[in-house]
């Protein structure tokens, strides 16, 4: 991944920074320029909590190249306490441990190395509570 593209997303990937609409109060993650709920254009920066629960999940058995050495790995859509949903890996557990509604905590983790000489990419993953 080109470094500028990686760098731009650091506030979201490292700190879960989101935008709260000053008009309707709904939170957008990642931040948007226009609130999809009310059309508002004014926001304040907020950070999402690291607590949530699994909405749905799967285990990936066939992965794109950068993740092929990690299969099988589990992926879930997680709803955080603020009502915001994210797609994330669920790690440090077996695929059969996952379930709809199970509580998770968001943690900071290595995602994958960018080739043999590139940067190491980091981001968020979830662990079962």
């Amino acid at each position: 991944m080109p470094t500028p593209r990686y760098t731009r997303e650091i506030p979201q990937r490292y700190r879960l920074e989101a935008n709260k609409c000053k008009n309707c109060g709904r939170i957008s993650f990642p931040p948007r320029q226009i609130c999809p709920h009310c059309g508002g254009r004014n926001f304040e920066r907020t950070r999402l909590s690291d607590q949530g629960k699994i909405v749905t999940f799967t285990t990936i058995r066939v992965a794109p190249t950068q993740y092929s050495s990690q299969v099988p790995y589990s992926i879930a859509i997680v709803e955080l306490n603020e009502g915001v949903r994210i797609t994330t890996q669920v790690v440090d557990c077996k695929p059969e441990d996952l379930g709809v509604g199970k509580p998770v905590k968001i943690v900071f983790r290595k995602m994958y190395p960018e080739g043999k000489t590139g940067i190491i990419c980091y981001g968020y993953k979830a662990v079962l509570v």
């Binding site: 997303e9 999809p36 909405v55 999940f57 799967t58 066939v62 794109p64 859509i77 797609t87």
Partner: protein
């Protein structure tokens, strides 16, 4: 708007066409459609293709295909909306004829997926690169997330999902253009290699090469052609949040629902008037959700509806008589036009072993990504 008719269709066989190039398969399908229509020229063309740049390193598809079809200097443009690029190309051609700007327009779709590209990564560009793909999700993964949510909410069973693939493989066994012309059993689907739990390789459409084209004309040209014509009576398109996780209800394909509503409104009919449909079964769960969104059955009841045989060739509303994406193959950009090929052949009574009885109105539904874009068309045999 003027009325728009289809007077010719053509397609290549779908499959691993290693001996043929991207431009060859497109021209083959285009010539077949032109010959079927009996026209001696075209005035404009729209080519649906998802990501020829990643698959074969070639962009500028509109000009390339007009050139190799010997049709330059006609205007030609490539249309992209991920896996519904073909259906959207049809919609662009429909409006061009309806507007009165052209009388004979070629719409087509093409994709060459087996030339060695990283297909999983190329297809994943239709998802949110920064917030889905970065996390390691794949397309089978996204549909698996939908499947799990549908199972949890409505009690849909693994067997009901498998019934989609069994039906589509049966239909494909009757289609000489299909990539897979073999039957599969429920047990084979359920016990096949897992791609993303609970979906197996036999819940998934294949990697394919192929092209399909159709000739759209005005009423004046249609009358002179003196051959069976199919009228496009409805066209609807819609979009949704690109990332699956942003949607309020993971089990609802809202773009499909909205695109269908718009097409029904234009046609002045409801789902009860549709005799048969070709839908975007990129994964078994997709067809199950789509029959719900199209209004063929109440939301959440897609599983039992399909399991009871309602969508089989002899069912209440046959779905994917061609074999669908699952068995016919899914060269992504070509799929939307190949659906039109099937509907036109069925309405004209040319579908041979898989010919449906007493069909007058057909529907196509083509969608992009995990359902962030969808396009629906409704067709009727012209009097």
């Amino acid at each position: 708007m003027r009325d728009v008719y289809i007077i010719g269709v053509g397609m290549t066989k779908f499959g691993e066409l290693w001996g043929k190039s991207l431009r060859q398969i497109f021209v083959e399908a285009a010539l077949s459609a032109i010959d079927d229509a009996g026209v001696d020229h075209i005035e404009s063309m729209y080519v649906g293709a998802m990501t020829t740049g990643l698959f074969v390193g070639q962009e500028h598809i509109g000009a390339l295909m007009a050139d190799y079809l010997g049709s330059a200097p006609v205007p030609a443009v490539r249309v992209e909306s991920a896996c519904c690029s073909g259906g959207m190309a049809l919609r662009m051609g429909f409006f061009e004829v309806a507007s009165g700007n052209s009388n004979i327009v070629l719409v087509g779709g093409v994709e060459k997926m087996t030339d060695g590209a990283d297909v999983t990564a190329a297809l994943a560009t239709a998802a949110d690169q920064e917030y889905e793909v970065y996390q390691g999700v794949t397309f089978p993964g996204l549909y698996a997330l939908i499947a799990r949510a549908h199972i949890a909410r409505f009690g849909t069973t693994r067997k009901q999902l498998a019934a989609v693939s069994v039906k589509n493989h049966h239909n494909g066994s009757l289609n000489p253009n299909a990539q897979f012309q073999n039957e599969v059993t429920l047990d084979q689907v359920i016990n096949a290699t897992l791609v993303a739990d609970p979906l197996t390789i036999l819940d998934s459409s294949p990697v394919s090469d192929g092209a399909a084209c159709a000739i759209l004309v005005s009423e004046e040209v249609m009358k002179k052609a003196k051959r069976p014509a199919v009228k496009i009576i409805g066209s609807g398109a819609a979009t949704d949040y690109l990332a699956l996780h942003q949607r309020d209800d993971i089990t609802v394909l809202n773009a499909v629902k909205r695109s269908a509503e718009r097409a029904y409104k234009m046609a002045g009919i409801g789902p009860e008037k549709i005799d048969f449909a070709e839908v975007h079964d990129c994964f078994s769960i997709a067809e199950l959700c789509i029959v719900e969104e199209l209004g063929f059955v109440e939301k959440g009841k897609g599983g039992p509806f399909i399991e009871a045989g309602n969508t089989a060739l002899d069912g209440k509303i046959p779905v994917n008589s061609s074999g669908g994406l699952k068995a016919k193959g899914h060269p992504v950009g070509a799929t939307g036009i190949a659906q039109v090929f099937e509907v036109v052949e069925q309405l004209r009574g040319n579908a041979d072993k898989r010919q449906l009885k007493d069909v007058h109105i057909g529907l196509t539904q083509n969608m992009g990504g995990s359902g962030a874009s969808s396009v629906v068309h409704i067709f009727k045999l012209a009097e």
